[in-house]
Amino acid sequence: MILDLHNHSIKSDDSRAKVENYCQWIRKRDLPIDGFALSEHRQFDSESDYRPLEDEYGLLILKASEVETDYGHVLVYGVNEDMVAAFDFSRIDLPLSLVVEEVRRCGGIAVPCHPGRTRVGMVAHVHQRGSVEGVEVIEVLNGGSRGTENDEAGHLAEEYGYRGIGGSDAHIVSHIGRCATHFEEPIESIEELVSALQHGGYRALRPA
């Protein structure tokens, strides 16, 4: 099963992509992905119900978040009410250690994204200040990366033994499906995604 684990919709301030258009695009272009996650910036979209789109297009649509920490941006999967109460998703200076710990305590998993990116990726921060306990998975393939940024993420994963996921980081419709994650077992819910991310059995890939 292949899921694109990092995308933004019009719920994010810098995205113009409607979720239905992502679905149409995946089907029109026959992209080899089975679903995607929406990781809106600095918030969790608790309102939107994408089940009708899932049924219409036969895709799994999962809701996540991308928060901003002192080690860069972090994808959060398995967001629930406890987690939303545990820390302020809208802040831009959250301590990564706090996010990792609280997300885990609330039953989710925190995944630093685009680690090779200047300032908002964790590679440089780790080299300057050391690693952060509790990080187990990072995004090693990001569709918005430039130059050697994905290579740097891969090297960090090797050095610290992190597992790697892939996501397109799409902000416009046609960018979905550039990077994704292949799971050995089927996934049907956010709970199953969190469990899989915690236990392994997946790899990042470029589907097209």
Binding site: R16, Q24, R146, G147, H171, S174
Partner: protein, 135 residues
């Protein structure tokens, strides 16, 4: 080219790719037409002194290149809205490509949404955006 009819446009349709002229001479032409006479746009050496790799194409010119690509595809259309994000500098005298693709159709308003990108020689996105076009 003849005008395009809304009915003939398909979701997912690629607009013809355009290789825009971002040579120094043409960028000078744009700068003089707009009064944007900053050396970062018009002089490689002075741009380097400002910490840039070389002179850069004004953001609004890159937006104009994408608008022109839409007009070339659908003469007579009206671009009702265009929004571009300058993700990374587009370099003067480089050889970028303008790409665009239809990503939504609104039958009631007879409008289409178009994804817009300008990529550099190695395929990295430098400018990204969307447009709403009335046909």
């Amino acid at each position: 080219m003849s005008p395009r009819r809304y009915e003939d446009v398909e979701f997912g349709e690629d607009l013809p790719e355009v290789s825009p002229d971002v040579g120094m001479e043409n960028v000078h032409r744009f700068c003089h037409a707009t009064g944007m006479l900053g050396s970062r746009f018009m002089d490689h050496e002075k741009a380097k002194q400002e910490g840039l790799p070389q002179a850069i194409v004004p953001g609004i010119m890159s937006q104009g290149l994408l608008v022109a690509a839409i007009h070339a595809w659908a003469p007579g259309c009206q671009v009702a809205f265009v929004d571009t994000v300058f993700r990374a500098p587009l370099l003067v005298d480089s050889h970028p490509l303008c790409r665009a693709v239809v990503t939504d159709k609104n039958d009631e308003a007879r409008r289409v949404e178009i994804d817009l990108t300008i990529v550099n020689e190695v395929g990295e996105t430098r400018v990204m955006g969307t447009a709403t076009v009335e046909l």
